[in-house]
């Protein structure tokens, strides 16, 4: 932190106690303080600043323009409106992460509408809205589109409740739109007509991502839009866009930094193929490439010219084989991030290890998660190969069907800088396949070696020992995901007692019960949230927790036909807004 600021802190803490000395010993007038603080962008820094003293709290609240709310129920729109008068950009996150995997019933909540109503009143100059795991209706989208004349950027990730009709409203009414980013939402797709709703005067788009929508859009409208928007830097189209159409778009927008292609399979004439190749070679600024649905070795070579500058290659929707991947990565030596499907197998990952020395992030998704045949997908060998060649690896998400303790130990020795280690051995409770032992030592090695570890997801056969290791060594851990693991309450207790920076703990199908839940009574207020489902927690323990900790919301959902005493799904989170008033009947607020 700036030494000048620190000095101010010392002198102001002396004056903080006397009521009328607000500015007498204060070296900086408000305007200067506000000017300085307006340069702070990280919400964590701003949070710290606001705790220094009342003056700083005020200066900070007047200068904050970006709002980040990690749990929409931790605070209310009214409280936010009172504190922050000048917000231009809002990021709101709603449902617990396990809702991505169907563990949270529909109509659970996290509806954005009441927030929008407040924003319209208090922040009429709102420009950006980024929602994750929120519910929003078409009406809400219409309201958004018509309530904020300066609205510029809308980003929706993993949201639900709306349809393409809502998008029509956005395209029609937001005259200054710079960003429309629609990702992986549970949305009703009634057709691609929304794209044609952009006015012919709209030329401000910088980001357009509709890759996850399935219907055809008017190519004519799209092409004209792309041509008009000279500042377009991110374009991710959907499957309905063919290869020759893609070529026509690329010719209009060689300045693109991020491209998501449409379908990558089409009978092309030699001339079309050549044109496409040329178009790609002209994209000198391309850093990110995604899409590539149905890509095969027939057309992948058109990409080679553009691969040299790529830092992020997202092949997670392309069922590539090892040889196809090999050729692609051979042309992409600057890759920092790579997402693939496990159809590339260990052989494909070996080529990644040898071709991408700068790799920092690897994600391997399963092409067929329910396939029991061990012959498919990747194993520990692939992961090992990458770790040998890519020493800078710090983020991994790896879905596999077999793993060994020894392999993981070697992997973290090769790559000790992991900040995010998410290993998913797909068969629940799967032991080390060579020794038949639990995978405790694997995760022990991870937490012992990777001192900067922030996020960990464990899997395989695990005893309490894994959690003892985590509690003892994972001092920077913020997020922990547990499934089908542990032997007793002790496991969860070790984590709650040992990880000082823990913010999010999500557990499913593990033998942790009341003693474990209650051992964290003082911990949960320092965390964003706790999720426990299919564990051994009962209603009485939940009630006790709720009673002792008024600033925690303790919510329980029961499964159909289960015992009245069982708390099948428990969601605990800190809140200054009290229990939520919009809970549906199946959510019991204790």
């Amino acid at each position: 932190m700036d030494p000048k600021l620190k000095k101010t802190k010392d002198s102001s803490s002396n004056s903080a106690n006397s009521p009328d000395s607000t500015h007498s010993s204060f070296p900086f007038p408000d305007e200067v303080l506000e000017r300085v603080l307006s340069l702070l962008h990280s919400h964590k820094d701003r949070s710290s600043v606001s705790l220094v003293c009342k003056d700083w709290y005020n200066a900070e609240r007047w200068t904050r323009t970006k709002l980040f709310i990690g749990n929409c129920y931790s605070v209310s729109p009214e409280i936010v409106a009172r504190r922050f008068p000048r917000i231009k950009s809002v990021t709101l996150k709603g449902k617990p992460r396990f809702s991505d995997f169907n563990l949270v019933p529909q109509y659970w909540g996290a509806d954005v509408h009441s927030w929008l109503v407040m924003f319209a009143k208090v922040y009429p100059f709102l420009e950006e809205l980024r929602l994750k795991r929120m519910t929003l209706s078409d009406e809400s989208l219409k309201f958004l589109a018509t309530s904020f004349p300066g609205f510029k950027a809308l980003s929706l990730l993993s949201c639900d409740g709306f349809s393409t009709d809502g998008l029509k409203a956005i395209a029609t009414h937001c005259k200054n739109l710079t960003e429309l980013d629609i990702q992986e939402n549970g949305i009703d797709d009634f057709g691609g007509g929304w794209l044609s709703c952009f006015s012919e005067n709209c030329s401000s788009l910088e980001v357009l991502n509709f890759a996850s929508l399935s219907s055809d859009v008017s190519f004519d409208a799209l092409e004209k839009l792309v041509r008009r928007c000279k500042s377009l830097r991110i374009l991710k189209v959907n499957k309905s866009i063919s290869l020759d159409q893609l070529q026509q778009l690329l010719v209009q927008a060689p300045q693109l930094i991020e491209l998501g292609t449409g379908s990558f399979q089409q009978e092309l004439t030699p001339r079309q193929y050549e044109d496409l190749e040329t178009a790609f070679s002209k994209c000198k600024n391309l850093q990110t490439l995604s899409g590539l649905w149905e890509a095969t070795s027939l057309h992948l070579p058109v990409l080679y010219a553009a691969c040299a500058s790529l830092t992020f290659l997202n092949l997670s929707y392309a069922t590539l084989r090892s040889d196809e991947l090999a050729k692609l990565v051979a042309h992409s030596p600057n890759l920092r991030r790579l997402w693939v499907l496990d159809t590339v197998e260990d052989k494909g990952l070996e080529t990644v290890g040898s071709s991408c020395p700068l790799l920092e992030e690897l994600r391997v998704y399963p092409a067929d998660p329910f396939e029991l045949d061990l012959h498919h997908g990747v194993t520990e060998a692939g992961f090992l190969a990458v770790s040998h060649g890519c020493r800078k690896l710090h983020y991994v998400l790896y879905f596999c069907r077999q793993m060994t303790n020894a392999a993981v130990a070697t992997i973290v020795q090769n790559c000790p800088d992991f900040t995010h280690f998410r290993l998913c051995i797909m068969n629940p409770g799967e032991p080390d396949y060579l020794t038949n032992e639990p995978m405790d030592e694997a995760f022990g090695a991870v937490v012992k070696t990777c001192t900067n570890l922030q996020r960990l997801a464990v899997s395989g056969l695990l005893t309490d020992l894994t959690f003892e290791y985590i509690g003892r060594y994972a001092k920077n851990l913020e997020t922990l995901s547990v499934a089908f693991a542990g032997s007793s309450d002790r496991g969860m207790q070790c984590v709650l007692q040992g990880c000082p920076k823990l913010r999010k703990l999500e557990i499913r199908d593990s033998p942790f019960g009341n003693a474990a839940l209650l051992s964290g009574v003082e911990k949960y207020e320092t965390m964003r949230s706790l999720w426990m489902s299919a564990c051994n927690v009962t209603m009485s323990a939940c009630r006790l927790l709720a009673k002792d900790m008024p600033r925690l919301n303790v919510e329980v959902m029961r499964d159909e036909g289960s015992d009245d005493r069982q708390a099948d799904k428990v969601y605990v989170y800190r809140s200054v807004a009290g229990p939520r008033r919009d809970a549906p009947p199946f959510v019991l607020t204790l």
Binding site: D100, Y317, T319, H375, L434
Partner: protein, 193 residues
């Protein structure tokens, strides 16, 4: 995993120390593992048995597991997995037809999968041969109408769409299918080897 270990594993799963010796193998029985990455067929089969015994539920029955987002799951459902049977072997395999772009690709993969088989191109017909016992296999498939067809007659994409499952039929039994329409020039991805 060596054959000895898998056998031990299997034995430890059976109650009362009963020795159930399952010796499975394709014609020509391969015991040799391929370059440590893919297992021999017999190993895979033994391991599957062991897992099936220790896991009461199949993966597909557990809600939300593996943790793959609904959006991605729905997309990947489009993978075209079909069963592959080989005459004489009691266990089937599965291939995802969508990851191949030609008949040659598919045959190569089947040769990899059933390690004892190699491709032999005889008179423009595609066959797989077991070098150990000289037995020849002809790739056939069941189409949408339920008819058994010879692999290779229609364009690749059409084949992927209509193929319901594959069967490597012993050449000796495939005589009726063998002489199909006079072979068209082997060019492009449709028929050529």
């Amino acid at each position: 995993m060596s054959p000895e270990n898998t056998k031990e594993l299997l034995e430890s799963e059976t109650s009362g120390g009963l020795k159930t010796e399952l010796t499975l193998g394709l014609p020509g029985d391969s015991q040799v593992q391929k370059s440590g990455i893919k297992r021999g067929f017999t190993d895979v089969v033994h391991l599957n048995d062991a897992i099936a015994e220790s896991q009461p539920h199949s993966k597909a029955q557990v809600v939300g597991w593996p943790p793959v987002r609904t959006y991605r799951k729905n997309l990947m459902k489009n993978g075209k997995y079909v069963k592959v049977a080989v005459d004489g072997a009691p266990y089937l395999r599965k291939v995802n037809l969508e990851i191949y772009s030609s008949y040659q690709d598919l045959l190569t993969a089947m040769g990899d999968m059933f390690t004892c088989l190699t491709i032999c191109n005889v008179l423009n017909e595609r066959k797989l041969m077991d070098s150990a016992n000289g037995e020849e296999y002809v790739p056939t498939y069941e189409d949408k109408d339920g008819d058994w067809m010879l692999v290779g007659d229609v364009p690749w994409k059409m084949f992927v769409e209509s193929c319901k499952r594959l069967r490597l039929m012993k050449s000796s039994e495939a005589i009726g299918l063998g002489s199909a329409a006079p072979s068209t020039p082997s060019k492009g991805s449709s028929i050529s080897c």
